[in-house]
Amino acid sequence: MLRQAVSDAQSGKWAVEASDLTKDFGDTRAVDGVTLGVPTGSIYGLLGPNGAGKTTTLRILLGIIDPSSGTRSVLGHERPLDAAQEIGYLPEERGLYPAMHCRDAIAFMGALRGLPLGEGRRRADELLAGHGLGDWARKPIRSLSKGMAQTVQLLGTIVHRPRLLVLDEPFAGLDAINQARLEELIRRQARNGVTIIFSTHVIAHAERLCERIAIIAKGKVAFEGAVDEARAKLRPIVRLRTRSQNGPWRNTIPAGARHEGKEWIFELPESGPEPLLKALIDGGAGIETLAIERPGLHDAFVAIAGDKAAAEMVQGPAK
């Protein structure tokens, strides 16, 4: 299977492929049989509550730690560090040398990935200027705000122009404006053909950015596939408001429907909207409004990972 994965990656189909990865820390199994595939050039989200095993999975994929069992292939390499020069990585816990100047920090991160120091400094100046930090190029990291330092680290992640970008909780700690900027940067990188994997416990980011996702809960992949496939796990939701309170039309409403205020909420029957509409009209419902909503990723997440995991995603408890 791994040979097939490497072959696929070399052919450009998959940037990353993992098969049955497990990782044990003592008696605790942090990652339990994770299998996933990241298509080349896609934006791929790893979704899950805190402690689900996202960071450990990313660390295994990057070769920072080895799995207890299972196989992985990154950009066609069985040993991820062999592809290190083509990968950019933003860890969840940001790490920069406080005394280093911004341009040197970016150039150093590039040098770690094989970029000559002089070229790294030149690109660092360009990147800093392009992100409104040109005046800070020769100032130490310790003088930056948290958001600015995070931007510098992100620029260090892309300075060597990687083919694969791995971002662990990249939106954590950013204000709304910087989150929007980061989303735009991710889209721009994707437009340039860069494959992007990012982990998040905020569903909205994944919903806006990702083409494919993996939902991880308790170390296991609960779902892996396209965002639309995740949504397709649920039937569309019908929101109905009627003038009539009672009548034959009530037999049309499924047994599990909720009545909230003046609204009935229920899953669209498998027969589709037309028979439903006909039955409502024939039954004298007096339709005031009827909306058929496509379920969001959050609804799909609740259905796939469960209410408890979904609650943690929404609340986003601090780590």
Partner: protein, 397 residues
Amino acid sequence: MSRLLRSAWVIGRRDFTATVFSKAFIFFLIGPLFPVLLGAMFGGIGARVASQAEQPRVAVIASASEFAKLAAARSQLGDAMGDRPGVELVSVAPAGDPQAQVASLLASRRHSVVAVLSSPFDQPHLTGAVDRDGTIAGQVGLMLGAARAPPTAPLEVVSTAPSSGSVDRTRAITAQTGQMILFFLTIILAGMTLSQLIEEKSNKVIEVLAAAVPIESIFVGKLFAMLVTSLVGIAVWLGVGIAGVAIFTHGAAGAIPAPAVGTAAFLVLTLVYFAMNYLLLGSVFLSIGAQASTVREVQTLSMPVTVAQVLIFGFAALAVGSADSPMAIAGAVFPLSSPLVMVARAAEMPELWPHLVAIVWQALWIGIVVWVSARLFRRTVLKSGPVKRRWWRKSAA
């Protein structure tokens, strides 16, 4: 250049520049001045305290000419011993009954004497709170002997090149000094390497590094960066030291006997043994640092290693003055004490071949220690959770 070495170069270059261009490095460079300044300061205070300390005073009942002879003898003895005599003499002219005068002097608070010497050149008597075989009686006896001795021909002194005894003594001092410099420098540098690693772990930079380069190259880069940093420090100290010796001794330092292997070879060997000692201890300290996540944990974990290193230093010090003894050979064979023992041997014994053997032997052990430490480092450096419970703790639970 292989990937490992290239990555180690990137890590090492950053560590080197970050250290050498930091304020801390200036303190590192002037660090050796502190013991010298403190020694001078406390030495001066000690001398002042000693000079102001109350001397035992002995009253001498004698004529002025007799007292002058005794005082001259006291001064002569002081010069020869390289220290001032402990007993101070007080001149008292004879007056009336000698026994009554002695009793009066001993009782007098004005003179405050511990003893009275009467009739020094006829029938000397020392009366007072002194022991027959004690220091005061002994010193007074020597002064009397010198004062009463007939004049003799002055001692003819012929200065020659250093004798074998004086060379051995000087080389033993060189050996001890070499060992001490190696020991303290290694401990300081290994500690600095360790604190840098802890800083990186607390900054979370270590994960950025580990994702980009092999962990082994982080280990090797850090180890060698601090070695090169220390060589810069040593070069500065050597330069300042040589200039200081040339200025303050006016070339007299040239009269100091050279180490047995020769000055140049000794300096080269000292550098090599320093590198060996540092690489051995630095590797151990780095692998300790990989397992700790806080400064407190580092202190707890490194304490046994530091204590062991002090014991090893003591063991190596036994080799000074007896380079071919079984103890010295055992010290040269034991990897952790080998550099310290061999630097002492370089000062005292002229043969070079034992150094070649020792360097190969130490290099072998460095390879083993660095390899094991790097693997341990790789396994533990990114663990941030609670320490894994060991089997003995499990069974105790």
